[in-house]
């Protein structure tokens, strides 16, 4: 493309589209245009325009994937007519597994249910949204109620399917963990011990 027919403003649009492609590619959930707008520091309308153009591009070029608008956001998904191939692959592929993050989140829900998104986030230190969605989609956890507090946060718990998969009658049958987890007081005490630096009386030349 040495004979640049685009004025500079188009180059910026092209860069914007590339950034959108990259972000949406790695996103677990559909990415809302407002989030893209914030991330790329551009008005939402421009983002929407870029996404529409990208989607049209892919269709025109007959790509095997599409940029779809789902649940208020954009995501890549396979074209419906390719479903047979995708299904064949998924049935073939024995490598699928629960990621470490997903397993930890599932474990937290199992042992601490009912539990809210915010509580999970505070334990794991990261936003658990994508993982929760996966676990819900898999049917391992589900909404079991609402917090009675002001926000009425959704509370999650494990499902019967989860118990069945692990061969449990009820969550009471989960192996106990309390003995293995030091309370905050013990951790604090140990940290206190750290502060009394033992090298004080063992100074080296």
């Amino acid at each position: 493309m040495s004979d640049d027919i685009f004025p500079p403003v188009h180059t910026e649009i092209a860069d914007l589209k590339r950034a959108i492609e990259a972000v949406v590619l790695v996103a677990f959930d559909p990415v809302p245009p407002d989030l893209l707008a914030q991330l790329l520091e551009q008005p939402s309308a421009l983002i929407e325009q870029c996404c529409a153009e990208l989607a049209a591009d892919y269709t025109e070029q007959g790509r095997g994937f599409e940029l779809a608008r789902v649940a208020g956001g954009y995501r890549y998904q396979t074209r419906p007519d390719l479903t047979p191939y995708v299904e064949r692959f998924l049935l073939h592929d024995q490598r699928a597994r629960l990621s470490g993050a997903a397993l930890e989140t599932l474990a937290i829900v199992a042992y601490k249910q009912p539990i809210s998104r915010a509580q999970i986030a505070s334990i794991r230190g990261v936003d658990p949204d994508g993982v929760i969605r996966t676990l819900v989609a898999r049917g391992y956890i589900a909404e079991v109620g609402r917090d009675r507090g002001p926000g009425q946060a959704v509370l999650f718990g494990t499902t019967d399917a989860f118990l069945e998969k692990l061969g449990l009658d009820s969550v009471d049958d989960l192996p106990p963990i309390a003995d293995f987890i030091p309370g905050a007081d013990v951790v604090e005490a140990l940290e206190q011990g750290l502060r009394a630096t033992p090298s004080d009386d063992a100074q080296r030349p």
Binding site: P175, V186, L194
Partner: protein, 258 residues
Amino acid sequence: MAIDVATPVFDGPFDLLLRLILAEEVDIYEVSLATIVDAYLAEIERLQALDLDVATEFLLIAATLVELKARRLLPGRADVDLDEELALWEERDLLLARLLECKAFKDVATVFARLADDADRSFARQVGADERFTALVPDLLEGTSLERLRNAAIRALTPRPEPTVDFFHVNPVRLTVADAVAELVDELPRVGRTTFRRLTADLAERIEVIVCFLAILELYKQGVVQLDQVERFGEIEVIWTGERGLRADELLIDVYEG
């Protein structure tokens, strides 16, 4: 020639020796065996002063170096035993060969670091199929035992002390949580009951104390030690409750070392 070995960041005897000899600012024709041997020995002394285990390998190489140096100081050669002389040369060549091999892999490591840096800039899509295909994906809990779930819960629910020390600048020869766990698993069954203070009394550096702390936390999670504190800010007792003869590698270990 001034060789600065004040920084403790080297990784084993070959690393130290390579650094001493190949220090950038040094003109190779000014490199003298005597200076290198002296610096090498000084460094070993410093390690010992810090109470760090000085690996046998360090000492073996020191012996070779000292012999080479002594050889060089002998003015005449008339009294030299030819066999001894040859053995020394052989040892020197062996050492040289090992240094060259070590240097080669150090250079490979530099290339690896660059490759990893480049690769890290691309993020792989690892999203999987969307909900239309959920029913088709083999069950992800397949092969997940209760044990794994429990371990994941313990991992996730244990309050994590935030390490405030840059682990990258720690002498990597010895200081890993895994190693500290191994030491404690060896020591604690014999003493049965001790205190955190006693366990760390000989540790010179704060980082070592922290590593020991993390190791004890690990053992606590594994349920093989009990921790008691009679009064607030009092001594913390560490009591071994695991089996005797337990091996460190039988324990699941979160390794904090990079």
